[in-house]
C-alpha cells in the first residue's frame, strides 16, 4: 500500500537581495497510514516551514521552489487554489503551538467550529451543526460541552483552547493531522492530557499525524517514525526505537546528550556548542560541521547524502557509525 504522504525533494525558499535562500533544502519524508511521524530539531531548523509547505501556506516572500508533496499519490503542489482549499481542512488539517492566534477572539467557540463544519457541508441545518459541534467538543473531552459552546476563547484555559483547535481540525475527519508544537506552551500535566487525546483520536479514526516538537520526550512517547532536522535538511531518519536505541548522526547524539533525564544522574550535560546557522549563512559541506566534534577535512567539502547505515535507518554523515570513525582516528 502506498504511504499516505510522500514528500520528495522539497525545497522552500525566501527571496533576498543575494538570491534565494532555502529554509527547507531537499527534504524527503514518508508518512505511513495511521502512524505518527515525529519531526525534531532545534529552533530555526525549518520544521514549521516544512509543514507550511505541505499545507501550501508558506507566507510570502517565501515559496516552494522544488519538490513533490504526494497525498495518496496526488501532488498537492500542482493543485489549483480551490482544490487545495478543499484539501486543507478536508483531508489534511493543522494545529499550531498557540491556539489563541488561530482562534477568533470575538466569536464564541461553538460558532467557530460550526463555521469550519459548514464550509465542508453547506447543506447541514444550523441545529444539526450545533449538535455535531457539541459532539466534537465532547470528543476532545471538554467538560460540559453544551455550556462551553457559547464561551469565548479567552474564557478557556490554554489546554482547553488547544482541545478546541483539535476539535476544529478533526471536524472534517482528516487523513493527516499536522501538529506543530501543539503542547510546547502547555504545562506537563496538560501536555499529557493532549498527547493522550491525540493518541486516542488516532486509534479511533486511523489518521496519520506529523508531530513537530523539539522535545525528545514527546517524540519517544508519540512517534513511530522520527526525522531529525538540521538547518533545513534531514540529518537522520529511523523508527523511534532505532533512533533512540542506536542514534547515528552526531547531531542526534548531541541532542540526546543535552536532555537532562529523570532516570540518570550526570554531573554535566553534553551540550552542543554553538548555534544553528541561519539559512543565509550556511557553512559549506556538512551543515553541522562547525559544531561537530567528529568533523574532519572531508566534512567541509561536500554535503553528505542521507544514506542507510542500517536497514531502514538513514543518516547524513560520512563518519557514521561514529565508533568506526574513532577507530580510524589515530
Amino acid at each position: 500500500m502506498t504511504p499516505l504522504l510522500e514528500i520528495q525533494g522539497l525545497r522552500t525558499v525566501f527571496r533576498s537581495a543575494n538570491g534565494d535562500i532555502a529554509a527547507v533544502d531537499g527534504v524527503d519524508l514518508t508518512v505511513p497510514r495511521g502512524r505518527t511521524l515525529g519531526i525534531v530539531g532545534e529552533s530555526g531548523c525549518g520544521k514549521s516551514m516544512l509543514s507550511l509547505s505541505v499545507m501550501r501556506l508558506v507566507p510570502p516572500p517565501g515559496r516552494v521552489a522544488a519538490g513533490r508533496v504526494l497525498l495518496e499519490g496526488r501532488d498537492l503542489l500542482t493543485l489549483s487554489t480551490a482544490e487545495m482549499r478543499a484539501v486543507r481542512g478536508g483531508q489534511v488539517a493543522m494545529i499550531f503551538q498557540e491556539p489563541m492566534t488561530s482562534l477568533n477572539p470575538v466569536h464564541p467557540i461553538g460558532l467557530q467550529i460550526t463555521e469550519a463544519m459548514r464550509a465542508h457541508d453547506p447543506r447541514a441545518s444550523a441545529a444539526e451543526l450545533r449538535d455535531r459541534a457539541i459532539a466534537a467538543l465532547e470528543r476532545v473531552r471538554i467538560p460540559a460541552p453544551a455550556r462551553r459552546y457559547d464561551e469565548f476563547p479567552h474564557q478557556l484555559s490554554g489546554g482547553m483552547r488547544q482541545r478546541v483547535m483539535i476539535a476544529m481540525a478533526l471536524a472534517c475527519k482528516p487523513k493527516l493531522l499536522i501538529a506543530d508544537e501543539p503542547t510546547t506552551a502547555l504545562d506537563v500535566t496538560v501536555q499529557a492530557q493532549i498527547l493522550d487525546l491525540l493518541r486516542d483520536l488516532q486509534q479511533e479514526t486511523g489518521m496519520s499525524i506529523i508531530l513537530i516538537t523539539h522535545d525528545l520526550g514527546v517524540v519517544a512517547e508519540m512517534a513511530d517514525e522520527v526525522a531529525v532536522m538540521y538547518a533545513g535538511r534531514v540529518a537522520e531518519r529511523a523508527s523511534a526505537r532505532d533512533l533512540f536505541g542506536s542514534p547515528q548522526h552526531p547531531y542526534t547524539l548531541g541532542l540526546l546528550g543535552s536532555v537532562p533525564r529523570l532516570d540518570e544522574d550526570r554531573e554535566r550535560l553534553l551540550a552542543i556548542e554553538g548555534a544553528v546557522p541561519p539559512p543565509f549563512a550556511l557553512p559549506q559541506g556538512c551543515r553541522f560541521h562547525p559544531r561537530c566534534p567528529f568533523a574532519i577535512e572531508a566534512c567541509t567539502k561536500a554535503q553528505p547524502p542521507l544514506e542507510a547505515i542500517e536497514p531502514g535507518h538513514l543518516a547524513a554523515c560520512i563518519r557514521a557509525p561514529v565508533e568506526s570513525a574513532v577507530e580510524l582516528t589515530p
Binding site: 508519540m222 537532562p260 551540550a271
Partner: protein, 354 residues
C-alpha cells in the same frame, strides 16, 4: 543561620470590577503562606504548574513587590530599610525571557556594568576590566561588550543576563525559568554554566522551573507549589525516589521519557488548575486528587515534617500507596557508548588536540 529564610509569605491581589467605581469583587491569592530556607551554596528549586505563584514568590524574595504579610530574612536580617540596600546587591536575578530583560538601546558592556554603577562599585576603568572578565566567565568574547542585544542569539542573551547578575558578586541568584525558552542544546550549555559558576563562587540559587528533569539536574532541594502554597519539600534524591504528595506524583507521571521503551507510562492528571481567586476549601488539590476523602474537602492540611528534611501537606501522607518509581534503564548501551565517544571527541577539540 540560613542565607535566606522566608516565613509565611503571602501576596494577595484585589480583583476589581466596574469602570466608574471600581469595586473589589475578590482576591487572587497568588502566594498564600509560603515558607522556605536556602543555605549557602545550595540550590532550591521551585516547581509547579503555570499560575501557581512561582514568579510572585521570586518577586517577593527580590522585594520587587511588597508582601501582603510574612517576612523575608536575608543573612539573618529582616529585609527592610538599610537591609534592603544590602539585598539589592547580594541578591540578583536572571529572567526567563532574555529578549525582554535586556535594554535594547544599551551596549552589552553597559548593561553588564550597570549594577556596578548603581551600587557605586569601582571606577570606569575597573568596571571595564570587570566586564571583560565577566564576559569570559560566561563564555562570551571581549568584543561582545561593544555589541547590542539584538545581535545575539537567545542562549547568548541569557549568558549576558547571567554576566550582569554576577557583576556585583551576589550570594544568591534568583533564576526565574532561565532555560525554559531555550532549545535543549542551548539549555544544556546554560545549565552547565550555572553549575560551574555555583561551584566557582559558592552561589546559592532559587531556581524556578517547570521541567522536573532540569530540576533533578540542578537542584539540591525541591519545593513543589500548588495554588500559591508549598505542598511538598524534600531533598532532591528523596523527592524523585519517593515523592509523597499526590500532586508531586502526578507531576512526575506526566513527564514523557526520552525512551520509546517506556512509551505509554505517562498518566495525565485530570482537570484544570482551579482559580486562585476561589481556591477549593480544605485541601486545595482535592478536586483533582485520586485519593481525596471527606476530611480532604473539609480540613486544610498543614505542611508537616514527615522524614528528615522532608515536609508534606497531605492528610493521608502516611497511608498512601507507595509511589512506584520506574527508574528506567537510561540510554541504550549503544547510545551510551556513542555519547561517550561524542564527549571524548568534544573534549579533545576543546583542548586543541585532534
Amino acid at each position: 543561620m540560613s542565607l535566606l529564610d522566608v516565613t509565611d509569605l503571602t501576596k494577595h491581589y484585589p480583583v476589581r470590577q466596574g469602570i466608574v467605581v471600581a469595586k473589589q469583587v475578590g482576591t487572587v491569592r497568588a502566594v498564600d503562606g509560603v515558607s522556605f530556607r536556602i543555605e549557602r551554596g545550595e540550590t532550591l528549586a521551585l516547581v509547579g504548574e503555570s499560575g501557581c505563584g512561582k514568579s510572585t514568590t521570586a518577586r517577593l524574595v527580590l522585594r520587587l513587590i511588597e508582601p501582603t504579610s510574612g517576612t523575608v530574612r536575608f543573612d539573618g536580617q529582616e529585609v527592610s530599610g538599610a537591609a534592603l540596600r544590602t539585598l539589592r546587591r547580594r541578591v540578583q536575578v536572571v529572567f526567563q525571557d532574555p529578549y525582554a530583560s535586556l535594554n535594547p538601546r544599551l551596549r552589552v558592556g553597559e548593561t553588564i556594568a550597570e549594577p556596578m554603577e548603581v551600587h557605586g562599585i569601582g571606577d570606569a576603568t575597573s568596571r571595564e576590566a570587570r566586564v571583560q572578565e565577566l564576559l569570559r566567565l560566561v563564555g562570551l568574547a571581549p568584543f561582545h561588550a561593544q555589541r547590542y542585544p539584538h545581535e545575539f542569539s537567545g542562549g547568548q542573551r541569557q549568558r549576558i543576563g547571567i554576566a550582569r547578575a554576577l557583576a556585583v558578586q551576589p550570594d544568591l541568584i534568583v533564576c526565574d525559568e532561565p532555560v525554559s525558552a531555550l532549545d535543549v542544546s542551548i539549555q544544556a550549555q546554560v545549565v552547565n554554566l550555572l553549575k560551574d559558576l555555583q561551584r566557582q563562587f559558592g552561589l546559592s540559587y532559587l531556581f524556578i522551573a517547570h521541567d522536573l528533569a532540569v530540576v533533578r539536574h540542578m537542584a539540591d532541594r525541591v519545593a513543589v507549589m500548588y495554588l500559591g502554597q508549598i505542598v511538598e519539600t524534600a531533598p532532591k534524591a528523596d523527592l524523585f525516589a519517593a515523592p509523597r504528595h499526590p500532586y508531586t506524583q502526578a507531576l512526575l507521571r506526566a513527564i514523557p521519557h526520552p525512551d520509546p521503551r517506556r512509551r505509554g507510562q505517562v498518566t495525565p492528571l485530570g482537570g484544570d488548575v482551579p482559580s486562585p481567586m476561589n481556591p477549593p476549601p480544605g485541601c486545595r488539590f482535592h478536586t483533582r486528587c485520586p485519593f481525596a476523602q471527606d476530611v480532604c474537602r473539609k480540613e486544610e492540611p498543614v505542611l508537616r515534617d514527615i522524614a528528615a528534611g522532608a515536609r508534606v501537606a497531605c492528610h493521608l501522607a502516611e497511608t498512601l500507596p507507595p509511589f512506584a518509581v520506574d527508574s528506567g534503564d537510561g540510554l541504550s548501551d549503544i547510545a551510551t557508548r556513542r555519547l561517550a565517544l561524542y564527549a571524548a571527541a568534544k573534549e579533545r577539540r576543546a583542548s586543541g588536540v585532534g
